[in-house]
């Protein structure tokens, strides 16, 4: 589809076309909090319902254009997105950290720091899955444990995923939309700016609790080890395949009238091969110890199908810039600071991947209207890189503000609770940890990195 058609569609859509998208995101945010058991059994129906609420009238009203938009978003965005997450999830599930550390503050810092680094390469969900159980084993004897899990959510499940498009879904969506693979390394100073004080604060807090706890109950260490080493090779393969698709230009092909890059299809095929190889070569024992199942990736696949379909009108309207129905939102975002807080504020309560895409398109619509994306993104990076910087940081970092800001947050909370740790409530997490610790750091980062 040409930019002109996209532009004309976006300019004609009323704001209420975005309601199914809002409903979809609010369902993901609120049902797990207020009706977790019902949501567990019925979320596929909810996702399908929101997708149909959008698709049926959209197809009736806009026919060919609507059909093309739906096909485009599913083939060009959704499929590569799910294939990458599936490959990362499968390969990281084949890595098992064995043994037990003593749960001392220094060792806990080491686990958090390792996870922060690892998250950018196996994804925040993968790093959380690999490391949360060894951490919980290490601190099992401790009286004060909830703070350790909260800092794990801050660092491993969110902030650590900022350095590559593999780290966090929003950044991979950016990559699919022509942001170069290594561009995200520009986020490293901001990541360090947050990670170092957080690790220091955690150490001081944990040491204070540790000294109060009875020495006689202290745990004993077991030799640490890693099983499934060969999965690191597959991981390197995933990085290579993604990189390859960013630098190798073969050509285009068309499927259902949608233009797709052949290098992207090659990448997806390689990712599937690497995932299958991991499945075939990893021992059952490793998967069992990691409680490996298809459940998490199935959830992502189903819910993101709903998100990607319902997001179509929102993206089209935002791309229309000041000609679209969301011009007031675009007017609000007039500096990199405002992009950081708008993207971050919404990423705190809604899933950060669609939020990133929303503001990414808002920036393109505002700063480079009427340009095809393939031309607009390099210009955005060349002339307004601080906007992309702010959107990326906001989406990745502020997912840590609440349990619902990023997918692994809830997963980590749930695993910790099942291990016998009473985690703070939804608002307890916000008021006891996010507001006093994260928000001041984000405010400081605003003045240091954005203008």
């Amino acid at each position: 589809m040409t930019a002109a058609v996209e532009h004309s569609l976006g300019a004609t859509l009323a704001v209420w076309w975005t309601l199914p998208f809002a409903g979809m995101l609010l369902s993901i945010a609120l049902f797990p909090l207020f009706a977790p058991r019902w949501w567990h059994h019925h979320y596929p129906k909810v996702a399908l319902a929101w997708a149909l609420v959008l698709a049926v009238p959209f197809l009736i009203e806009h026919r060919g254009e609507a059909a093309h938009e739906i096909a485009h978003v599913l083939l060009a965005d959704y499929v590569p997105f799910i294939v990458l997450l599936w490959a990362l999830y499968t390969v990281s599930s084949g890595i098992l950290l064995t043994g037990t550390l003593k749960g001392a503050p220094g060792q806990n810092v080491l686990i958090l720091a390792s996870g922060t680094l690892l998250a950018s390469w196996i994804g925040t969900t993968g790093a959380s899955m690999v490391l949360i159980r060894p951490l919980l084993r290490a601190i099992s004897w401790r009286k004060h444990r909830a703070h350790t899990v909260v800092f794990f959510i801050f660092l491993v499940s969110n902030i650590g995923g900022s350095l590559t498009p593999l780290g966090d879904p929003p950044l991979f969506l950016g990559f699919l939309h022509h942001v170069p693979f290594f561009w995200t390394l520009h986020l490293a100073p901001a990541t360090l700016f947050l990670a170092v004080p957080l690790l220091t604060l955690f150490y001081l807090l944990d040491r204070r609790y540790y000294r109060r706890e009875e020495a006689k109950s202290r745990g004993t260490a077991e030799v640490m080890g890693i099983r499934g080493w060969h999965n690191f090779l597959y991981l390197a393969g995933i990085v290579g395949a993604v990189l390859l698709s960013g630098v190798w230009r073969i050509g285009e092909t068309h499927i259902l009238g949608v233009e797709l890059k052949i290098e992207g299809l090659v990448r997806d095929a390689l990712l599937v091969v690497l995932g299958v190889l991991s499945l075939k070569t990893t021992s059952v024992g490793v998967h069992r110890a990691n409680q490996f199942s298809w459940g998490p990736i199935r959830e992502v696949a189903i819910l993101f199908a709903g998100i990607f379909v319902t997001i179509i009108p929102a993206l089209a309207i935002l791309k229309a810039g000041e000609h679209g129905a969301l011009r007031s939102l675009i007017a609000l975002a007039d500096s990199s600071r405002s992009y950081f807080w708008l993207t971050g504020g919404l990423s705190s309560f809604l899933d950060n991947a669609p939020t990133y895409l929303t503001f990414f398109n808002a920036a393109l619509g505002d700063l480079l209207p009427n340009l095809p994306e393939v031309e607009a993104v390099p210009q955005l990076i060349a002339m307004h890189h601080h906007y992309l910087h702010a959107i990326s940081c906001g989406a990745v970092f502020m997912g840590a503000n609440t349990y619902i800001g990023n997918a692994p947050n809830f997963m980590v909370k749930s695993i910790a609770e099942e291990a016998g740790i009473e985690m703070p409530s939804f608002f307890g997490y916000i008021f006891k940890y996010s507001i006093p610790i994260l928000i001041p750091l984000f405010l400081l980062a605003t003045f240091v990195f954005f203008d």
């Binding site: 797990p32 567990h40 998490p296 992502v300 099942e418 009473e422």
Partner: protein, 187 residues
Amino acid sequence: MSHYAEFVIHGNDREIVAYLKGFAAGSGLERAFVFAAEAGFHTGALRERIKHHGDVTHVICDAPHRDRLRAAIKQAPPPFEFDIKEERKIERAYFPFSFETPNRKTAEMIKAVLGSLPKGVKAADYSPHEVTDPSARGPEVYSPAHEYTFSGRGVIEGDVLGVVETRHALMDIEFTKCDEISVHHAA
């Protein structure tokens, strides 16, 4: 039923606590009385302060030892200046509790406490629910239901020191919530 006594003592609260803890240690009465604030009783602190024109400390003592405790308070030597403003008889104590845990070990701990309540203490209106959902096993990112949940609520009531002991035991277990202890005074 022998009634517990609640002494409402006017004076510096830290001095009262220090003096009476010393008295308890010296006379072997550590288990005979508790300080209401420490033990989690609802004392209506502001109302009591207004009523008694200053700080008051509530001490709750079992029946056999109340005379010794009263005497000890009245005979506190200078520089202590303690004044018993009120002495009430307590019939029984109670507190509502609730819990919800996805951890089987914690569930067993809760069951152990509620299954061996001290003499004269009972769990009233207690309704436990144990739910197992195999479909929720393993990590989940967007629909984090728990495979196992043990939840319940009720009211622990009866003998005052037994109720205090039970509250202490429940409060030590994660995932349990206990309200403050309330008392029924004797007429």
